[in-house]
């Protein structure tokens, strides 16, 4: 199927496939729950009462619509085109993750479940889940790779403040993929009372579809905002891609606009050639991971490879199946941004615009710095600023050497 045909139909299909990607590979113990979730979600989606409640929470609690900010001083470094940032960093809890979590938490209550569990990498999804759980009176457990609990210690403290239990995961590579494994293991044993609030457009059907639907408001708003600001659509939309939820969120409203290029920025780590990266589309191959068929980083025998990125939130060997499909159909393109390129863009935004981005989002900013010069001065770029950098101050300060030895906390 071509991208043009696909935009006229509705994806995924009934079994959760985006072309050859997606689907549902799961232990039998979860199959009933996945069917129940699909049914509950589709019924909620069609229920004006549910949508009104979600809309109210997004507006009055999370802070939607998020701002669209033009950043001319940053744009001057990006070749002089016009650059607009979609300010998901301004949302409650500091990133786009809240959009999805409020939807899934409402759905959890609708299904009569009392406990919500989640995986987290950088901690943004964990914090958002802990927040929604506190708001709605749900028990909450968040699984986080032990390595990530160290590099994102501030978010661990935030989750605990909000009343969530944080479980460090010390198996495997001790990062996001292992946290996901452990959350699935909890879910298999607790599925009757518990909802697994997956944080990205990944996992078995219906998660990639449902999380996309909760995140697509980013692009719906941004499309209108850019039209209002410049009277036309942007030439390109740029977003960072780990699992890919902010990217799908901002891309989705533009998929049918064929004059708009969609550019995903993956974590290139030390560079694709070094093998130390998390650039799944750029450096991976099709296979199955965490319940979905998608691109993943695997060895010649199908074992998942360990990943590297300065950004805990992008440090994942798989990617949402809709991205795999957008890549395969050519509708979106994906590039690898190295740690160094991301941190350079991080610094540029701080110093030109007074905005400290999340290191995840800095990968999208680096993509903008690459794409801008290609577009020239008449170009218009829309960039998803998916999160704010407060959580990353420690890592960034070390990277840039902003703290003397006696000023470092540890």
């Amino acid at each position: 199927m071509t991208a043009a045909q696909a935009t006229r139909s509705v994806l995924p299909d009934e079994s959760g496939h985006f072309g050859e990607f997606g689907g549902r590979m799961a232990p039998e113990a979860l199959m009933s729950a996945l069917a129940e979730l699909t049914e509950a979600y589709l019924s909620a989606k069609a229920d004006p009462g549910f949508q009104a409640e979600l809309g109210r929470l997004l507006r009055d609690y999370a802070g939607r619509p998020s701002l669209l900010t033009e950043v001319p001083r940053f744009a001057a470094v990006a070749g002089g085109c016009r650059v607009f940032l979609k300010r998901e960093d301004m949302m409650h809890t500091g990133s786009h993750k809240i959009n999805n979590v409020l939807g899934q938490a409402l759905l959890t209550k609708r299904m009569g479940k009392t406990r919500i569990i989640a995986e987290t990498g950088a901690g943004q999804h964990g914090v958002a889940t802990a927040t929604a759980a506190a708001l709605m009176g749900l028990d909450c457990v968040v699984y986080m790779g032990e390595e990530d609990t160290r590099r994102q210690a501030l978010n661990v403290a935030r989750m605990r403040m909000l009343g969530a239990e944080v479980v460090p995961v010390s198996t495997g590579s001790m990062t996001l993929k292992d946290a996901i494994n452990e959350t699935f293991r909890d879910w298999v044993a607790s599925v009757e009372t518990t909802h697994y609030c997956i944080g990205s457009v990944m996992g078995p059907h219906p998660f990639p579809m449902m999380v996309r639907d909760f995140q697509r408001i980013i692009g719906v708003e941004a499309r209108e905002q850019v039209l209002a600001a410049v009277g036309r659509l942007p030439d390109a939309v740029v977003a960072c891609v780990g699992g890919g939820s902010n990217a799908i969120g901002i891309f989705h409203a533009f998929i049918g606009d064929h004059e708009v290029a969609l550019a995903g920025c993956e974590a290139g780590g030390d560079g694709l050639a070094t093998g130390r990266h998390a650039a799944t589309v750029a450096g991976g191959s099709p296979g199955w991971i965490h319940g979905m068929r998608t691109f993943l980083l695997q060895d010649d025998e199908g074992q998942t490879l360990s990943t590297h990125s300065i950004s805990a939130g992008l440090d994942y060997p798989g990617v949402g199946p809709e991205h795999a499909w957008l890549h395969q159909t050519g509708r979106a393109s994906y590039r690898a941004i190295t740690d160094t390129e991301a941190m350079n863009a991080f610094s540029v935004l701080c110093r030109t615009e007074g905005i400290i981005p999340a290191i995840e989002s800095a990968h999208a900013l680096a993509g903008a710095l690459q794409l801008g010069p290609e577009l020239g001065p008449d170009g218009v770029l829309l960039v998803s600023l998916s999160g704010r950098g407060d959580k990353d101050v420690d890592i960034a300060a070390r990277w840039f050497g902003h703290l003397g030895e006696d000023e470092q906390g540890r």
């Binding site: 799961a26 113990a29 044993a189 199908g302």
Partner: protein, 278 residues
């Protein structure tokens, strides 16, 4: 060589449940796993379930995760798994490979089925493959006469049990509880209920796995199921042992205890007769 179907038929003829023992290939080493599996069969396991080590064992508890991680760190490859199948099958006991799907997908499902059959394997247990996504495997299983074993869970509806059993071969793997692999203090009441519900929709033998670790529990499960599957308890014996020889001795001892267990459940004249399988 005993076929998988024959192993269950023989157990039934002796009015007892079959004993299925699990070990991951490559743990504690490739030859060590072969030695342990042969000891297990020699001491009374009717069927061997050989795990193909995978980096992301989603439904395994800490014991099997640990063993599999060590096997992978030790450099075990699919070729080693197939060689292990061959060594065990050559002794006459039926062997199935238990594997998560991605390694098979990567190898190529047709090629994997061909090579598994060539090694003397009897089938494949696929804990994360759903019947809905299993078309290629079912075709390959038919071509190479391999048993496709799928799992049934306490949460499975009748509709799903019909779907699962319609594609299963050899036996149905009934998960005794909602949870990951690992020993439990008691066998849950869900197990007997699930076996009953599976029997309503199929005439295939039903084997119960997850949580069984000793002879008493094996006897309990054998009173209502056609097979008893034990994994983590065997792996634990190898993990706890100071060296391979004592680990293998531990595996042999446990297999013998479990073999007595599956014979205690339904005391009948046939069960008293010594096992004449070999």
């Amino acid at each position: 060589m005993t076929t998988l179907a024959a192993a269950f038929e023989q157990a039934a003829a002796q009015d007892r449940a079959a004993l299925v023992g699990y070990l991951p290939a490559g743990f504690p080493s490739v030859p060590g796993a072969i030695e342990a599996a042969l000891a297990m069969a020699d001491a009374g396991a009717d069927v061997i379930e050989l795990g193909l080590p995978y980096s992301d064992p989603l439904i395994d508890g800490p014991v099997i995760q640990n063993a599999v991680h060590r096997a992978l760190t030790g450099g075990v490859r699919v070729a080693d798994v197939l060689a292990t199948v061959q060594a065990i099958a050559a002794s006459g006991v039926p062997v199935l490979v238990m594997t998560y799907w991605n390694p098979v997908d990567r190898y190529g499902v047709g090629a994997f089925a061909r090579d598994l059959a060539a090694a003397g394997g009897s089938g494949m247990i696929t804990p994360d493959l759903t019947p809905e996504e299993a078309g290629d495997w079912l075709a390959a299983a038919a071509t190479y006469r391999l048993a496709p074993v799928f799992l049934a869970a306490p949460s499975s509806s009748r509709e799903r049990l019909e779907l699962i059993t319609s594609v299963c071969g050899g036996f149905v793997y009934a998960a005794s509880l909602m949870g990951v692999t690992g020993a439990r203090d008691a066998v849950g009441s869900q197990a007997a209920d699930l076996v009953g519900r599976v029997r309503e929709v199929t005439s295939l033998p039903v084997a119960v796995g997850l949580g069984v670790s000793n002879g008493r529990q094996a006897a309990q499960v054998a009173s209502f199921a056609d097979g008893v599957i034990v994994g983590s308890a065997f792996v634990n014996r190898l993990l706890a042992a100071p060296d391979l020889a004592s680990g293998v001795a531990g595996v042999r001892e446990l297999a013998a205890e479990l073999a007595r267990g599956v014979r205690q459940a339904r005391p009948a004249p046939a069960a008293i007769v010594a096992d004449q399988r070999r």
